[in-house]
Amino acid sequence: MFNFIVRRLLQIPVVMLVLSIMIVGLTQLLTPEQRAAPYIRTEQQAARIEQIIESRGLRDSFPVQYGRWLSSTLQGDLGYSRASGDDVIDTIRERLPATIELTILTAIPIMLIGIWLGTLAALHKDKFLDQVIRVFVVFGYSLPTFVLGILLLAVFYAYFNVLPGAGQVSVLNQFALGDLRRYTGMLSIDAMLNGRWDIAWDVIRHMILPALTLITVLSAQIVKVMRNNMLEALTSDYVRTARAKGLSDRVVNGKHARRNALLSIITLAGFLIIGLLGGSLITETIFAYPGVGQWVVQAALQTDLAAVLGFAMMSAVVVVVVSTIVDILYGVVDPRVRFD
């Protein structure tokens, strides 16, 4: 197990290197003028495009440009993001905790709701409850995130005013944030550690609508897979054997069928968590939630190369780490899987 983890962690720099060569290489398909575009916001600046290209070495050869990026990256400098108006490394440091916070709030409900509804649907196959759950799945699958997000804002914020609107914290608490000592970067947790339960509650309330959006959309995927897995498991030989042994429905369904059905759910959950940690692009944008997803949307729209590269590096680490955890969990759930 230890060797397996070390091997996996050693993959990180290799993945990052390949990824960075690919991304920087792809950007060479753009002309120097196109790569200078992020620095130009006005006609007046456009007049000086040549100076902008020159001062940033955008006409240098690919090895020179890549070497420059790699050299500064190895010194811990991922460059400056035009989209955030800050260093890439500082932007990730500031925004990733917010994304992790939202992930923590959403990942567990997504899994629990998905597994529960998927199991229920399978156990009541073709009955009324199954039909209702299938409608929910279709709803979650087909409703675009931005439509659902705006709809939730309109209902819970604009109409009933029971939940706050966009943002991470209310205006009244904005100035107080500066006095908070930051431990984790996760605002709700840091507020609790500072004894500011009012701010913590405010932050959590601001997360409810984005979380609800993500839970609705993503749990639908788990429900669908879980339902199919359960249906397959319920017709398998080992379940039939368990029933023949006179075991109760609860034991058969829960211990024998559901445990096996969960195997592929672990993989799916891994992908979902990777997705959530990479930032929920549309949800974060709609709710003005200051995570990495919102930033990367802005960066992509501005052809912010430093930000895109930085985000890719961060994603590479997330993918390798989460995949490793998923594989280890696989070994725990299924003893047939061995790593060493």
Partner: protein, 572 residues
Amino acid sequence: MKKLAILSTLLVASTAFAAAPKDTLVYQWSSDIPTLDPAATYDTGSGAIVENLYETLLTYKGASISQLEGLLGTKWTVSNAGKTYTFDLRKNVKFHSGNAMTCTDAEYSFERMLVTNEGSSANYIIAESLLGTGANANDDKTITWARIDRAVECNSAGQLVFTLPKTDPTFLARLAYTGFAVVDSKYAIGLGEWSGKEADWKAWVGKDLTNSKLDKAPSGTGAYKFVREDANAFLATAFDGYWGKKPALKNVIFQRVDEIAARQQAFLRGDADIIEGGGRATDTAQLKGKPGVTWVDDLPNVAATALFMNQNITDKGTLGSGKLDGKGIPANFFSDVNVRRAFSYAFNYQQYITDFQKGAGKQRTTLMPDTFPGYDAKVKKYTYNRAQATAYFKKAWGGQVWKNGFVLTAFYRDGSAAAQTIAEILKREVEAINPKFKVNVSAKQWSEMVASGNEGKNPLISIGWAPDFADADNFMYTFYSSNGYYAKRSSWKDASVDKWLEQTRATTNTAERNRLYSLVANRAYEQASHILIPAGVNYSFFRDTIVGAGKANYNPMISFTLGTYWKELSKK
């Protein structure tokens, strides 16, 4: 069910119903704030904030764009045939850091602009006046430390002295630009910015200050001081040590909310005092007339847009056959004044105003704002007239255009609905005149458009210009001079116009300059140099609790959406 009821009760009970507090201005927008360093400020997002944290020597008097008044400069004299400007600086001014402002700070600030002068900054504007060139020392080897040092100095009386290489009637207007603010030199040097000395000036030439130490921790003399900036919010608070009248609003918060629907909901609920709108049509439909909303219309627009008819198209790929044979155009197709007049009469100005600008548009006589000194309303303007267009097309190129027809491409900036509409209106109208006329409409990316424009590759393209400083020169020279920034877009060259425009730069006599601008405008009409696109009428809207905003206080040269500084606003 019971649990759900308890949860709902809890949510309702804990709802803050947080309308924006009375002492706080809440603004929601979708822009980023690239920098808080004045020497790198060259966009509206940064400008809207920097103009309130920092102060310039001069500013606009109320809503006027022709009258300047002292801000950090209290008095100034002009001598040496308009080449020396001596400023008395305001006394007892403190920076947010607590340091007192002295002439050394002002000298340092301007020298820092001239030394760095990075390509995407606005510093070239001040360099043009003070050094006679917009370049920095890397691009122009004749720029030495001695030249920079001589341009801005403090005299023994503590006055700031600017020495220009030649007369520049636009100099004072340039000084009002947000980015040319006074920074706290002691504080900046302490942070690790340029030392202000000759020893390390070379190392700072061309340096991009967007992400400078001052960007992270600004310290100006403005009525508001920086508190904090995070991923989605910028916070400022009233500066207790401000030299002027204490601002009524204690706090200002800019919240970044990209989604227009979310901004609108916050605005209608009163959680935001002001928001960035979604364009006239959207804002009129969604917000105008709603409870609690104040709508101000008929505000001045200081941008100008033109359709450029390029008289020397350098991209053969856009010329088709390259001949007047009905399958293309020659590179100098627009060099015939009859073609240009025909196109000018063919554009349906009123339709653009009615359909695209929703009736809120205005035709101008010249490519400059009608509120600028030097604008001549008496100059004739083209109107949509199909008969006249036909007549000129028949005259063009000795009748060849009418007989053989043509195929040309009109480009527009990808994503610009206005530019696309302009191109499509022109296409429809021109093609309706003669079935042999064909206008293809094609989108270009911004960067591609810039590059091709600089090389004179686009046959027909619409481009706008927003001013850096409130002087006619910023438009007239840009659009009409063969040495102006847009010269290559149209390749239009008129010896008289060039001469008149150079004369406007050599005199500080306002009446004489205005006379010369009228001559230029009349000549441009006569020669149909460009197609003048109607200018949209500006508007603004805000919560009715806001006091101090409105038409009387709206200055279009101020970046903040209400056209006023935050210190002028209060809430009831």
